[in-house]
């Protein structure tokens, strides 16, 4: 116990000094111990915390490393002292860490670095080191205390955070770009409908600013509809859909389809409404156009008698327009039928060649097909069809379907056949009748001189007979022979004429209006081509006549043809056929024209037998017309009408239906 030793005053002083020093040493010792304890505690605490505590001298050489270092890195503490620890740092970062450490040591500024450290097992983990200078008493340059901490999780978490943030940012960016790129207007409102927010697209399209009332861009006629339906939707919370016109920047209106859905929370409460408004104007126009085309197609299909069909080759089915039913005489529309329904109804004589021609068209490259054939109706009869189709091919050229029209020509063919039959009959009878008329003409012309001849001979014979003084038997017998020769010539002509005309004239009671109408059909069959018009003015009192119908029609046709020819240079070209009953049990038929009429010199010549005629075809010439009319007991003549134009007239014996009954 040095502090309690007695001594002189000096001794006392020294003793006092000694005891104070001893107390100081004691205190320092305790302090040191405390410090050491603190340091231990610190190091222990740091190590518990996962930090490596280290010390370095003023030159930067590590003098002490906490225990965890060896455990973490697998490097002995002894190897790590000095600059040995640098070898566990990732080669890419080692030099950088060394330089920074040198700099801190040189300047005394605190050190901080982050680097990857090779850990036991060879992998790298991110660590952070911090160090601060510590200046002890009496030392020129400070020593260093430092800690190194494993921050791998922290860095990974940060990286993940960053990446998440980045992804979020990218997502937001994409969303924004998407909104800007889309043609749709995207919008959102509060659950109560307030606070409307519209995407940029809205402004671009309508030219309206964000602060403007969006309702103003709706077409005035559509505003009520939109307001009412939207109010109902807010009420019900059901998905919203409406179509309305929006005014565009240029003042035009375009049709938009507006749809909206509510976003709900876990308790099914509406958080917001999200909506899109989509421009459907082009679509609507296209739809209208399509409907228009369809409507026109439907009307056209109805207007024409043609049946429209759509033949799907892949399905082997045919769709028929409604009027196709009429062709087969069906009450109900045909709708869709199999291909065989069609082919089975083709007339057996034509089926093979027709089906083959269609097959060839399909397998070839043609895009058109047509055929004429007989098609069986429900009642077993056949319709005459003209069928035409377009073949539709896919990109590979394979025929996929054909669309076409089927025209029923039965009625037309029947009418044409009837006209041909009437023409043929007329031409036939006309030839016979022309021969008969020629024979009649010949007979008349020969009969005149024969009559004169016979008369002269008869007279001469009489004179010779009377001269009783000088009988002339030779002369008388010569004259008798001449007389009988003349009469025999007349007889030969008569028989020839009867032979030619036999069976061709059959006078029966005919209905005059019908006779005239039929003749007019034939005579005016090409009236449009000829540029003339005609009218029938038939007297109801002149119903029945006793005639050979065909011959009288020939006369009428001849007169009409003459009239048409006469009107070639006339401004007005019109023919009127009229009938009327006249006195003496006769009927008069007139053919009036608007031509130049007949010159006075021509009048007598017109009907003369040897006037040449260039007429051919169905009509007969005027001389033959005259022969025919006179053979019926009528007369034929021509007059000029008061107003100009010719008027050919003939008469025929009238009859009564009673006469018809008697026949």
């Amino acid at each position: 116990m040095a502090g309690s030793a007695p001594g002189s005053a000096d001794g006392l002083t020294l003793d006092a000094e000694n005891s104070r020093l001893a107390a100081e040493i004691e205190r320092l010792g305790q302090e040191l111990a405390r410090l050491r304890e603190n340091e231990k505690m610190y190091r222990a605490a740091a190590e518990v915390d996962g930090r490596i505590v280290w010390m370095a001298d003023s030159d930067g050489a590590v003098t002490l490393l906490g225990k965890p270092f060896a455990a973490i890195t697998g490097m002995a503490e002894g190897d790590a002292l000095g600059n040995g620890w640098l070898s566990v740092i990732h080669p890419d970062e080692r030099e950088q860490v060394r330089l920074r450490w040198r700099e801190s040591v040189a300047t005394g500024k605190p050190f901080e670095a982050q680097f990857r450290t090779r850990v036991a097992g060879g992998s790298y983990r991110t660590m952070r080191s911090r160090a601060a200078p510590f200046s002890g008493s009496g030392q020129q340059r400070p020593a260093w205390y430092g800690t190194t901490q494993d921050i791998e999780e922290e860095v990974a978490a940060e990286r993940a955070r960053r990446e998440a943030v980045e992804r979020l940012r990218e997502s937001e960016e994409m969303h924004r770009v998407t909104l800007e790129l889309t043609q749709q207007i995207v919008w959102t409102v509060e659950p109560d409908g307030s606070g409307l927010q519209l995407s940029q697209r809205y402004q671009d399209l309508t030219g309206m600013g964000g602060g403007d009332d969006a309702r103003l861009s709706i077409h005035p006629d559509d505003r009520d509809k939109v307001a009412q339906s939207w109010a109902a939707t807010l009420e019900s919370g059901m998905p919203y859909a409406v179509e309305c016109r929006l005014r565009m920047r240029d003042g035009s209106y375009r049709l938009f389809r507006v749809r909206a859905m509510p976003q709900r929370d876990g308790q099914d409460r509406i958080l917001r409404w999200y909506g899109i408004s989509e421009d459907v104007d082009d679509r609507a126009q296209a739809e209208l156009a399509r409907r228009d085309v369809e409507e026109r197609y439907r009307l056209a299909a109805r207007a024409t008698n043609d049946a429209i069909w759509d033949h799907d080759f892949t399905l082997g089915m045919i769709d028929w327009s409604d009027n196709a039913a009429a062709i087969v005489g069906s009450e109900t529309p045909l709708g869709r039928t199999p291909h065989s329904w069609w082919s089975d109804r083709i007339h057996p004589d034509e089926k093979l060649s027709l089906v083959r021609s269609l097959a060839e068209a399909i397998e070839g490259t043609a895009n058109r097909w047509s055929g004429t054939y007989r098609f069986r109706r429900d009642d077993g009869s056949y319709a005459d069809l003209l069928d035409r189709g377009f073949i539709i091919r896919d990109s590979a050229g394979k025929a996929v379907r054909a669309v076409g029209a089927m025209a029923d020509l039965t009625e037309r063919h029947r009418a044409e056949a009837e006209i041909r039959r009437m023409q043929a009959e007329l031409i036939h009878v006309s030839r016979l009748s022309a021969m008969g008329a020629m024979a009649s003409t010949l007979a008349h012309e020969l009969n005149q001189p024969l009559t004169a001849l016979a008369n002269f001979i008869s007279g001469a014979k009489r004179i010779v007979e009377k001269d009783g003084d000088r009988p002339q038997p030779a002369l008388l017998s010569a004259l008798a022979a001449a007389e009988s020769g003349a009469l025999r010539a007349g007889e030969i002509i008569r028989r020839l004429r009867e032979l030619v005309s036999r069976g061709t004239v059959s006078v029966v009671v005919e209905h005059l209006p019908r006779l005239v109408e039929d003749a007019a059909v034939l005579a005016f069959v090409d009236e449009h081509k000829l540029g003339v018009s005609h009218r029938l003015d038939l007297d109801p009192a002149a119903q029945w006549v006793s005639v050979d119908r065909v011959q009288i029609q020939q006369v009428l046709i001849n007169l009409v043809r003459n009239a048409v020819e006469a009107m070639q240079d006339s401004a007005v070209r019109k023919v009127v056929i009229s009938t009327r009953g006249i006195e003496g049990g006769m009927v008069e038929v007139r053919v009036d024209d608007t031509g130049p009429g007949i010159g006075p010199d021509e009048m007598d010549e017109l009907f003369s037998q040897f006037m040449t005629t260039k007429r051919g075809g169905m009509g007969v010439g005027l001389p033959i017309s005259r022969t025919i009319i006179e053979a019926h007991g009528g007369t034929i003549w021509v007059e000029n009408r008061d107003g100009g134009g010719g008027s050919f007239r003939f008469t025929l014996p009238a009859a009564t239906p009673r006469d018809k009954a008697q026949l």
Binding site: S440, A443, H444, N447, Q448, P449, L450, T451, A452, L453, A454, N455, F456, S458, G459, A460, K461, R462, I463, K466, E483, A486, L487, A489, G490, I493, R494, R497, E498, S501, D604, S608, E630, A631, H632, G633, T635, P653
Partner: protein, 211 residues
Amino acid sequence: MTLSSPNVYVIDDDRDVRRSLSFLLGAAEIRSHPFGSGSDFLEALPDLEPGCVLLDLRMPQIDGFAVMAELAARNVDWPVIVMTGHGEVPLAVRAMKLGAVDFIEKPFSEQALLACFDQAFGLLRDRQRTGVRRREAHKRAALLTARERDVLQSLLAGQSNKEIAQALGISLRTVEMHRGNMMDRLGASSLAEALTLAMEAGLKPTSDRVA
């Protein structure tokens, strides 16, 4: 050669036929007069003696039918024979309906023609006689007073004197007086004679005039 036969008017546009007919008829002692057209004949008609007409139906301008129609219009009842070609029977029938007495087809034999004329001449004589009587009756009827004519027409209707007096509003005695005068003027000795004369004169019974 005395031509005492009736006149025959030949109408044909063919000169040879005309001349041959005149020659033949001349040889048969029938007096004939040729005309080249219907209009020539109709023009001359007022100056012609009664006769028979031999008419061709086929002629330009005015044909046989027109000639016949004109004869009827002028109250000329001369017999008409029409000439036709072969097979023109309908024309002939029509001509007969219009009053032709016969038709003959060209060329014809002398016998056929002369047979037609035999008949036609007989008809012409009958019609001439009827015509003379009729003219006489017309002449006498023209002498009657209006009252005497009324009485005659009433008698034609079969009325008695009493009925006549009532219908005309005169006395029975006055009727008897008119009747006596009427008989005298007509030169009729009996009522039957008077009524025949009245009919020949073309008078009609009153019944259709008096209600």
